[in-house]
Symmetry: C2
Subunit: 356 residues, 2 copies
């Protein structure tokens, strides 16, 4: 079925329309089609499609260019599709409302309404943010067509409660393996129980104290958690191996290499394998463009603790922040919602910034 | 292919012949067929088949009847099939040599050679000892045809190093579950990590001191081990559940109910589910028939720590012991072997006992 999007709807109504076009990661086609049809009608934008990712650019010859980016996919439905309004129409509930159809609605409203913004603008609507990094539309774009992302500053419209969230923490996963020696459990003293041995790994995790460094004026909060554990051979065998998978969330004053070295050192009594690592991004709010943006939209910037695609812009050398309607804490929950007032406020403030 | 067994071979040669008829649990058919053909030729025995389990009985009208029982299945091959002799023919290596084709060879040699034993004898050759209890041939027989097992005393020819092993320890498996609260690992302090919580379960296991009670004159040695652990939701989620599976090996002065109550009490801070329990068996060497047997075969009886089918006889009210050639410690290992001298010695001593 072809969907049609009416960009003259107000932000909240457009959010509801976007929410009601299902777009679970990998199935963004119909929504990408609808967004593409709406964008190509706008004469002041040139539109490029890359898979289910769309890039729409003004070409006014301004000396500054900024990116407004948002992903169009959602996590799987959890009995919360389609969306529903509360009685006073102050709150829209449904999968993807906060994360991040509301942000996409704001992007589309600005794209339609700002024929002559004060800076050139590149609007990016991308696929597969909620799944493996290698399918992420922004990653694919940065790999295959980085020129389309060229800019001096980027705003990701991820839900940030309407305040600027700067930078992001890095994330590293590693397996830490305790070994032992198999034996029959009837004579367990002839072996060495690797699960019992892994108790010391868990003790290390329990005793760990998080760093809370201040980076470029924002306070981060690290985390180190076991996210999986497995061990066992059979119901009557003392196991010889137990693997604890840990996830280290590190503040952006540490590089990916710093994080690798730290985890190897911390768990040096055991076998450590680094499974994956994504660097964080410093908030960069000391950069003039970012500082000007923060001043324009107001509020007190705070540190972004989760990993977000701002790190991809950081890798391209482009300062980036998160700023959008919605609440990240309720994203991915069955009760996910967004408040009308936040949608309207975010649109107003971004419009003011891009008109000044 | 039909296999033919020549019961005039000596014990070690017959062990090799039996070893070379593959009989991994569930695939005992060809070996059961061969044993059946060999037994039905013996006019002094009446033979009953039950699945791949065979029962051969003398019917001399003696006032005492004893059972000699052994399982004919093996664990899966591990590059150790067929068997091979060392140069001096002192050691036969191969899957099932110790556990327990050597014992089966002794049973068959006695069955063929003792037309008029001093006590009536019931020889049991049963299937599926190495797998789930509900497929065990001795269990099926005790359920479906318990009359065939009627006797005053039973010997299981499990590998016991040629000494009498009395009784057996019970075994209980339970799952112990630590719970927590999910959260995104970027804000892990909003959740409660169940894997970290399971650290206290492991601490309990590490700190546990085994009981070593003396029962009917034999010293047992209990064991309590984690045999499996699992937990984890996703690489970026603080997990809300971690399950530790424990195996408690308990001395036969405790009943199955005692063991259940003990484990529930020990792990009372957590959710405990008893997965299965098999009671042990007291050694019973104070019973006159068992004591006479132990005196006849010689050596110093020791406690059986592993669970064996003697517990099934105990449930039928029949005193039972383990006595057979082979070494239980190397059973189920790729290097499993049996020594010629043990096979011959076990046969000689059992023959002496059954002739007296």
């Amino acid at each position: 079925m072809d969907h049609d999007l009416d960009l003259r709807l107000d932000g909240p109504a457009l959010t509801a329309a976007l929410t009601d076009i299902a777009s679970v990661s990998g199935e963004e086609g119909p929504l990408a089609d609808a967004i593409e049809r709406a964008l190509v009608r706008l004469r002041h934008l040139s539109v490029t499609r890359h898979g289910n990712t769309l890039v729409a650019r003004t070409a006014l010859g301004k000396k500054e260019r900024v990116v407004l980016a948002g992903h169009i996919d959602t996590v799987p439905h959890a009995g919360n599709f389609p969306s529903s309004w509360d009685e006073e129409r102050t709150r829209l509930t449904g999968v993807g409302t906060s994360d991040m159809k509301a942000g996409v609605a704001v992007q589309l409203r600005l794209a339609a309404g700002l024929a002559e913004p004060s800076r050139d603008v590149t609007y990016v609507f991308y696929e597969c943010e909620e799944v493996a990094a290698e399918r992420n539309g922004l990653f694919l774009l940065s790999r295959d067509a980085p020129g389309l992302l060229q800019s001096q500053f980027a705003v990701l419209l991820e839900p940030s409660g309407g305040v600027v969230e700067g930078g992001c923490q890095g994330t590293l996963r590693a397996s830490v393996t305790a070994t032992g020696a198999r034996a029959h459990t009837a004579r367990s003293w002839m072996g060495r129980n690797a699960i019992h041995g892994a108790g010391a790994i868990i003790e290390m995790l329990r005793a760990w104290t998080p760093r809370q460094p201040v980076v470029d004026g924002l306070e981060y909060h690290e985390g180190l958690n076991a996210v999986a554990i497995s061990g066992g051979v059979a119901g009557n065998v003392v196991p010889d191996s137990c693997v604890v998978t840990v996830n280290y969330r590190f503040a952006p004053d540490r590089s990916a290499d710093d994080a690798r070295a730290y985890i190897r050192e911390l768990f040096s009594p055991w076998e450590v394998e680094i499974l994956d690592v994504a660097p964080g991004a410093r908030p960069g709010l000391t950069e003039p463009l970012a500082a000007a943006f923060a001043a324009a939209v107001g509020g007190t910037p705070r540190a972004k603790l989760g990993w977000t695609d701002v790190a991809r812009f950081a890798e391209l050398g482009i300062p980036a922040v998160n700023y959008g309607p919605g609440i990240s804490e309720i994203a991915h929950t069955p009760g996910e919602y967004v408040e009308t007032a936040q949608i309207t406020a975010a649109e107003d403030r971004l419009r003011t910034w891009l008109s000044a």
